[in-house]
Symmetry: C2
Subunit: 343 residues, 2 copies
Amino acid sequence: MSGKRRPSVTLHDVARHAGVSSMTVSRVINDYAFISDAARAKVLKSIEELGYRPNAVARATRTGVAQVGVLYSNPNSSNLSAFLMGAFRKAGEIGCQLLIEPSAAHPTPARAVVKLIEAGVGAVVLPPPLCDDAKILKLLAAAGVGPVSFATAKPSPDVTSVAIDDFEGAAMMTRHLIALGHVDIAFIQGDPSHSTASRREEGFRATMAEAGLAVPDAHVVQGLYTYRSGLTAASQLLGLRRRPSAIFASNDDMAAAVSAVAHGMGIAVPTELSIAGFDDTPVASTIWPQLTTIHQPIADMAATAVELAAGLARRDADEDQARKHVLAELTLVVRQSTAAPAG
Amino acid sequence: MSGKRRPSVTLHDVARHAGVSSMTVSRVINDYAFISDAARAKVLKSIEELGYRPNAVARATRTGVAQVGVLYSNPNSSNLSAFLMGAFRKAGEIGCQLLIEPSAAHPTPARAVVKLIEAGVGAVVLPPPLCDDAKILKLLAAAGVGPVSFATAKPSPDVTSVAIDDFEGAAMMTRHLIALGHVDIAFIQGDPSHSTASRREEGFRATMAEAGLAVPDAHVVQGLYTYRSGLTAASQLLGLRRRPSAIFASNDDMAAAVSAVAHGMGIAVPTELSIAGFDDTPVASTIWPQLTTIHQPIADMAATAVELAAGLARRDADEDQARKHVLAELTLVVRQSTAAPAG
DNA sequence: AGGAGCGATGATATCGATATCAATCGTCGC
DNA sequence: GCGACGATTGATATCGATATCATCGCTCCT
């Protein structure tokens, strides 16, 4: 019987309460420039008193609902949840509808793109490695669907992008290890088909060179961003006659594998071996000791990507829109897997 | 210049094309019972020809946008991404707005609930262990906000719920291990503050008893659903004089830890030791060998939960609504971490 | 003084759908 | 053969916001 009903204060309620028209209220909440201070104050007061909250859905009907597609390649990607969180939060805010399409569900990524286009999306967010695929970009261009490339290491100037500076991130981590006193630092490369892999390696090498530290060939081994490839790479590195005192893996999954192998060989982490990852995925704080890694604000980046995509989708034949390029801020997260080298 | 514009076929376009009123079209797509076959056929044909897709957002303005809150406790929960996927997909479909609130961001879970209530949600989805918290349920009831408990092991008959049968899941896995020929099967318990933990243990014990197999006390050790607790538990079990030939951990994170420890002790998986997990989180297919585990259709469950919550949110003082209880289907996923015992 | 220019505001149409109520057409019972 | 009732359909209002255009009152310029 306590039948609570959503009283749902509307814009009109606020207008009535403030003694102005609904348009004035609408303008206030949309930060329109030309409103008298008096009117603005009245409206803000009424909003406060009534506890008004704009209805994103209703707003979207008028502003034009943009349907934005999101393609993703790896359903197990550990960053997926943060990515989705951010993307959906923003989508809810601006009232645009997200269509999520796993490219793995299709014989080729191109088929997934076609499906999204047919579903009528106005823009597509492309995580790596899809955003580096020229064929896909061509397909989208032909359909007039705007692409937003996400977290690619080499964003094309022609394509709106949200990215991180992989080079700088790797450099930050390398500096951290050097500052701890490490000299023999090994590196596990990422999947060469991802553009991020080479940038991270370059960041590592450049920083080592800058510090005057040598990087013997044996200290750089190939990985594929997978746990399993990390297992192999770790065995290789830890079996070396002259074992490195620190291993920097290009992502957290591989760093977790290094941790498991070290564990297996009775090598104490971090006292005998420092391990560093990249991405700050959930596994980094799951395993023990927790990984020192580079944190990317994936959720914020995803939100930004959706916002840009929605803008692209809405825009009419207005072609000369500036392609935006957003670079997100990275942070070094020092946890328990790195320390000064022994002895 | 290829200024593609979303022509966005509307309901009215379809109506005009089919020569009927828009209401008739609306009724067809909403499966209203009393439509002549002729009209239905015409409409369906037009929908097909024009490639019409209903605009969920517009629909929601009229049906009443339900705001549904989703509380979650552990931002690193590996199931989060699947959960969010399902939840948001459904939210998009029915045009309801999701408010996600991490309870960790508040001093107490109760504060998070209050925030959602103040934000005006009509219903809340509560993952464990929040859904078992009487205080929270009381708070919600006072505000007239419907709760939907998610994946709790002991759903209250008074609360709408979407759950799995933890007992049966554990039983399935235990039967699998027994069928492989294992006799000495150890068990790692979950966090006792989660209702799922005890049900899983009961499922294990009941099945062992049924098969006439003994479960010595030393073969059941406490865990907390964390990787770290799994590390400790595994060391304990694998250090036993009479080592079990299989370890069934109540979740994947702990199973992954068992794998790491086994690795460390030079115990081959699965030839010398079988490892089983529960949940089928991403880590299960990340590590190597990949874990045999119990898969829950989290995404579907989340979608169902949102759907039920939206229903709750919309319903007026209509109190005698049936509380629904949905039980999702579990599947045993056999991967590479289990095999027949050696010798 | 006349009006151009602009800041500030409101009236009204609109977005794409559904809710509600009324209208139409059989046909069935008596 | 008449009224009632049920199946089927359409007209119109509505949801909560924004877009567009009109209006109003000033100031400032010539």
